[in-house]
C-alpha cells in the first residue's frame, strides 16, 4: 500500500460546473501524477508534479489545472466540466525518485451530465 487516497471516489456533476479532485499521500513522495482512463485510450497523463508548487503538463492537459501547495496533496481541477471529461481519474506516485515504479490510487469515477 503506497498510502494514496483519492477523494471523492464517485462524483456526478453538471456541464459547466467546477470540480476538484483530491489526491492525498502519507509518505512525502516527491513525484505525483494525474491520469485519466477511457475505453479505447488506456491511461493518459494529464498533469504531474515534481515538488511543491512544481507542476507540468501531460499529453491531455487542456481543460485541467493542478495545484500542489504541500507535499501530501495534489489537486486536479476542472474549471468548467464538459461531457468529454467524463472518465475515471487516477492519481499515482513514484516512491523512490523520478524514475522508479509507479503506484496508483483507487481512482475517482467522474460523470459530467
Amino acid at each position: 500500500d503506497a498510502g494514496i487516497t483519492q477523494s471523492p471516489r464517485h462524483k456526478v456533476t453538471e456541464t459547466g460546473t467546477p470540480v476538484t479532485l483530491r489526491c492525498h499521500q502519507t509518505e512525502n513522495h516527491r513525484y505525483m501524477y494525474w491520469y485519466r482512463q477511457d475505453p479505447g485510450h488506456g491511461l493518459r497523463l494529464i498533469h504531474y508534479s515534481y515538488g511543491v508548487k512544481d507542476t507540468d503538463k501531460g499529453e491531455v492537459s487542456d481543460g485541467y489545472s493542478v495545484s500542489r501547495s504541500k507535499t501530501e496533496d495534489f489537486l486536479l481541477t476542472l474549471e468548467s466540466a464538459t461531457s468529454s471529461q467524463t472518465s475515471v481519474y487516477f492519481c499515482a506516485i513514484r516512491t523512490t525518485g523520478g524514475d522508479s515504479p509507479l503506484h496508483f490510487g483507487n481512482g475517482t469515477r467522474l460523470t459530467v451530465t
Partner: protein, 111 residues
C-alpha cells in the same frame, strides 16, 4: 510520440493454462513497467523491468530493450488473474519521467 502496442487485445484461458502477453514499443526507453487492473478497477504494479528477466511467483517478465519488446508470462493461471494487463514505457524528458501506456490485454480466466 512513442507507440506502445500490446497483443493480444483479448485472451480467454481455462484455469491452469499458461499464457504470454507481448508489449512492443517504437523507440528507446528508460524502463518499462507492467500493471494489472483487476475487475474492481485497481491498478497494481507487477514489474519494473528496464531489461532482463524478473519473476514473482507465477508471473515473470522479460524485457529486451535493444529489440524494443517485453513479454509477460503467466503460468498456471487462476481466476484471480483476470483483468487487464498494461505495459507502460518510461521516457525521461524535462523534469520527470513520464509513463506512456499501451491499450492493454484483457484476460479472462475461466473454471
Amino acid at each position: 510520440g512513442i507507440q506502445v502496442e500490446q497483443s493480444p487485445p483479448d485472451l480467454i484461458l481455462q484455469e491452469g493454462a499458461n499464457s504470454t502477453l507481448r508489449c512492443n514499443f517504437s523507440d528507446s526507453v528508460n524502463n518499462l513497467q507492467w500493471f494489472h487492473q483487476n475487475p474492481w478497477g485497481q491498478l497494481i504494479n507487477l514489474f519494473y523491468i528496464p531489461s532482463g528477466t524478473k519473476q514473482n511467483g507465477r508471473l515473470s517478465a522479460t524485457t529486451v530493450a535493444t529489440e524494443r519488446y517485453s513479454l509477460l508470462y503467466i503460468s498456471s493461471s487462476q481466476t484471480t488473474d483476470s483483468g487487464v494487463y498494461f505495459c507502460a514505457v518510461d521516457l525521461f524528458g524535462g523534469t520527470a519521467s513520464k509513463l506512456t501506456f499501451g491499450t492493454g490485454t484483457r484476460l479472462q480466466v475461466t473454471l
